[in-house]
């Protein structure tokens, strides 16, 4: 491997990073763990005159949880840190599951949740469950920062709402409502290390065995991670039963718009969306009732 030449900066504050990004213009790329950025540069898919590394910015790798407010994951928090974080495992197990489902051990020791989202692959493992849980991203620019629902962050394969001179600084997951549970289920040809062919994230809020609120997000079956709104409507306000799960799975399978690629055919993806939606709803409802 050898990379084309570039300049490297590791600014120590978000302000400096944004200023650098503005100064350097279109030839600059922001790097967190580097596992996507350097890979794309290696393959010649990304040309950069300047790499701006976020690792020296204080607090960027912080994972914090505050009762009443929720979970905030800094842009430099590694996937392995999220996967193994005791509070995330306890309060947001599906978020930990999604981090664990991403790539292999080495990549999780390097890569970040933020980077997985910013890379905006339709198959990004961390996107579906974070969308289902109503996560919000924080973007900082020279003029200040703004928040955006993750649901509105993805614009196309490799495209996001990050504006010129803006840096993704953190992702926030609200406190899960009383009686709620979430799940992430995915499938890939080799099971552990390869990119997901389908991923399904679900969050349900239950009242007894009635589903009061449901959010279902599908990965790798459309140009961006997509909500399965029709499938959500099928289970909302109803008693969860195996018949209802079946119906929701079929609806999600109708809603998605997969393509055929090296990882799976469109037909197989549609079938797996149904299967994984059923499994994810099932696990989310068990977690909601504390089973």
């Amino acid at each position: 491997m050898s990379l084309a030449r570039f300049d490297y900066y590791a600014p120590e504050s978000i302000e400096d990073a944004c200023r650098l990004l503005m100064e350097q213009g279109g030839g600059a790329v922001v790097m967190a763990g580097g596992t996507d950025v350097l890979l794309k540069m290696h393959r010649g898919l990304l040309k950069a005159n300047t790499v701006i590394d976020l690792q020296k910015i204080k607090g960027m790798n912080r994972i914090s949880f505050e009762e009443g407010k929720g979970l905030t994951i800094g842009a430099m928090a590694r996937l392995a840190d999220v996967e193994l974080h005791p509070i995330i495992k306890y309060r947001y197990p599906a978020v930990a599951d999604a981090a664990k489902a991403t790539a292999n051990v080495q990549i999780r020791n390097m890569g970040t949740v933020a980077g997985n989202l910013c890379n905006a692959a339709p198959s990004a493992d961390n996107a579906p469950v974070l969308i289902a849980m109503g996560a919000e991203v924080t973007l900082a620019g020279v003029k200040g920062q703004r928040q955006l629902p993750l649901d509105e962050f993805f614009k196309g394969p490799g495209l996001t709402a990050i504006g010129e001179g803006e840096i993704f600084t953190s992702i926030h997951v609200p406190i899960a409502p009383e009686g709620s549970g979430a799940s992430y289920k995915h499938i890939s040809p080799r099971g552990k290390v390869d990119i997901s062919a389908v991923g399904v994230g679900v969050m349900l809020t239950m009242n007894g065995d009635i589903c009061e609120e449901a959010k279902i997000a599908l990965g790798a079956v459309a140009p961006i991670p997509m909500r399965a709104i029709k499938a959500e409507k099928i289970i909302k306000g109803r008693r969860i039963s195996s018949d209802l799960l079946e119906k929701a799975g079929i609806e999600a399978s109708h809603e998605c718009k997969p393509i055929t690629d090296v990882r799976a055919t469109a037909e197989y993806r549609k079938k797996m969306v149904a299967v994984l939606t059923i499994r994810a709803i099932d696990e989310a409802s068990s977690r909601a009732s504390g089973k």
């Binding site: 300049d7 490297y8 590791a10 890979l39 290696h42 590394d53 051990v105 080495q106 390097m110 552990k192």
Partner: protein, 162 residues
């Protein structure tokens, strides 16, 4: 512009001027002559280039040397401290026949160390997950999984004796 970095590699401190586009793999192999770290796919899939940075296994092919300034690196050359007596992981790999062509071995052993320092008694599933980022085209993995299990036992005994 070259950047001056200070790193510790296998306990030895180094100050090196590096071009920012050079990977840790290139600097270890070409500047420091530590060719025990291999380069396979160059894309973070095969694990042949695995090293530990501050105790965590990473792909040195996807790590910029300039980005590990100030950090502690361990390569396969640092696994056997004295250079004469083998580490229990290395002994177990030999005893269990877990090495054939050897190209994956340094990465495998460092992934094993990454696992065993955090989880001294892994089950088979945990071992397989821990080496899921290391590809071996010779062994079919069975002997490697066996060896890591045996290494866990050896390391426990060593710890008990100390």
């Amino acid at each position: 512009m070259k950047h001056l970095i200070t790193i510790t590699v296998n306990g030895d401190p180094y100050s090196i001027a590096v071009d920012p586009w050079r990977t840790l793999n290139e600097v270890l192999r070409e500047d420091l002559g530590l060719t025990g770290t291999k380069l396979g796919c160059g894309e973070g899939d095969c694990g042949a280039c695995t090293v530990l940075v501050d105790g965590r296994s990473v792909s040195s092919c996807l790590t910029l040397a300039v980005a590990v300034d100030g950090k502690d690196i361990m390569t396969i050359e640092g696994l056997a401290f004295s250079g004469e007596e083998l580490h229990p992981i290395q002994e177990a790999f030999i005893e269990k026949g877990a090495i054939q062509c050897g190209f994956c071995t340094s990465g495998m052993e460092l992934s094993a160390l990454n696992l065993l320092t955090k989880n001294p008694s892994p089950d088979e599933e945990e071992i397989r997950t821990a080496i899921s980022g290391n590809l071996c085209r010779c062994t079919g993995y069975y002997n490697i999984v066996d060896a890591i299990g045996a290494a866990a036992e050896k390391m426990k005994q060593t710890n008990d004796n100390n």
